[in-house]
């Protein structure tokens, strides 16, 4: 198993079918609960262990996921309220090295992620099919449709849940 890409790499799709969209939104809704299950029972020392050699600690992964999806909610709202806005990317490694990402209890970011996803899912469920073709400009990736953004958020959440789940499996000798 590839420890860095346990669910494979992201495949970006600019347009989703209604079924694909429904499935991705349902996955986004499940991510906070799945992360909570993946974290259950880990000790503070285990939370402060890298999930793979030279990777972030489990704690950093959880805080990173909240950071990333705060940015994800902001980008979604920008795309819905402006015509093709250029969003501000962020430098995820230095963000993860900031004190809150390194040391805060993971429960804080689980609560944050839960609320951010609730707001995200309500917005996504209220959109008309045409809204999913709205776009933002990512300075490094280029044009991103809301469909593509939904696929990215779903993959990204499951990617990090799988990091924590596979770390726990390895601890248990599985």
């Amino acid at each position: 198993m590839d420890l860095q890409y346990p669910i494979g790499k992201l495949k970006r799709k600019a347009v989703l079918t209604p079924d694909e969209r429904r499935a991705e939104i349902a996955r986004i809704a499940e991510i906070p609960g799945q992360m909570s299950v993946a974290l259950a029972g880990l000790t503070p020392a285990q939370l402060d262990s890298p999930y793979r050699e030279s990777g972030w600690t489990v704690r950093q992964v959880v805080h990173h996921l909240a950071d990333a999806h705060i940015n994800g909610l902001i980008r979604l709202k920008l795309a819905l309220t402006e015509q093709h806005p250029t969003i501000k990317p962020y430098d995820q490694d230095p963000w993860s090295a900031l004190p809150d990402g390194k040391s805060a209890p993971v429960e804080i970011s689980l609560a944050l992620l839960t609320a951010v996803h609730q707001r995200m899912v309500v917005i996504l469920n209220s959109l008309k099919p045409a809204d999913f073709a709205r776009t933002f400009e990512h300075p490094e990736i280029g044009t991103v449709t809301i469909d593509m953004h939904v696929g990215m958020l779903s993959w990204h959440g499951r990617h990090h849940v799988a990091h924590v789940a596979s770390f726990k499996d390895r601890l248990a000798g599985k």
């Binding site: 805080h63 909240a66 950071d67 705060i70 940015n71 909610l73 902001i74 709202k77 920008l78 819905l80 309220t81 402006e82 806005p85 250029t86 969003i87 501000k88 962020y90 430098d91 230095p94 963000w95 900031l98 004190p99 809150d100 040391s103 805060a104 804080i108 970011s109 609560a111 944050l112 839960t114 609320a115 951010v116 609730q118 707001r119 995200m120 309500v122 917005i123 209220s126």
Partner: protein
């Protein structure tokens, strides 16, 4: 009368933000404390309001109490991101947002508990970040495309005010309406 009217301007119940580009350590400590207290104060301010009361504009032509709670969460998520950008990049240009259009999106109709919980968790992380910043970090800057350069000290002034500003909107409405 004019003075009295100005004193109770429903838009600015605690006055406008005091924007200081440089704070003393004591001024900083007070503002970080205010940020730490904001989610709890907002929860107290909205406690016991009925759904119909939550859907009442806090002033004529203004947002409803519900929109206001979701707006504080939106605004402070953006602010948290801006602090982190300024701490990890050299003078980043941040992305402003259209707050009125954001408040019109469907998530602003959600139960307020979601944004109260969001705000509680967000402020916990924000306060850990602020308490661990070195004095020199507060001189770091970001560029707001419409306002110009802003130091993190000034941003701390703006957001410690911003939370209290909206809490005061709710408490002033409750007093006017007798919803106590």
């Amino acid at each position: 009368m004019a003075n009295e009217a100005a004193a109770v301007d429903p838009r600015y119940p605690i006055g406008k933000a005091d924007r200081k580009p440089v704070l003393t350590p004591e001024e900083r400590r007070v503002r970080i404390e205010q940020i730490a207290e904001t989610p709890g104060r907002l929860s107290v301010a909205v406690a016991g309001l009925t759904p119909a009361q939550l859907d009442t504009p806090y002033r004529e032509g203004g947002w409803t109490v519900r929109q206001l709670v979701h707006h504080v969460a939106d605004s402070h998520m953006n602010s948290f991101v801006r602090f982190k950008l300024a701490l990890t990049e050299k003078e980043p240009t941040i992305k402003p947002y259209e707050q009125d259009l954001w408040a019109g999106l469907s998530d602003s109709a959600l139960p307020i508990e979601i944004s109260l919980s969001l705000l509680t968790a967000l402020h916990q992380r924000w306060v850990v970040l602020l308490q661990n910043m070195k004095p020199a970090d507060f001189a770091l800057t970001l560029r707001h495309p419409e306002i110009g350069l802003i130091t993190l000290d000034e941003n701390l002034c703006i957001y410690s005010w911003h939370g209290r500003h909206h809490v005061a909107h709710v408490t002033a409405l409750r007093e006017r309406k007798g919803w106590n």
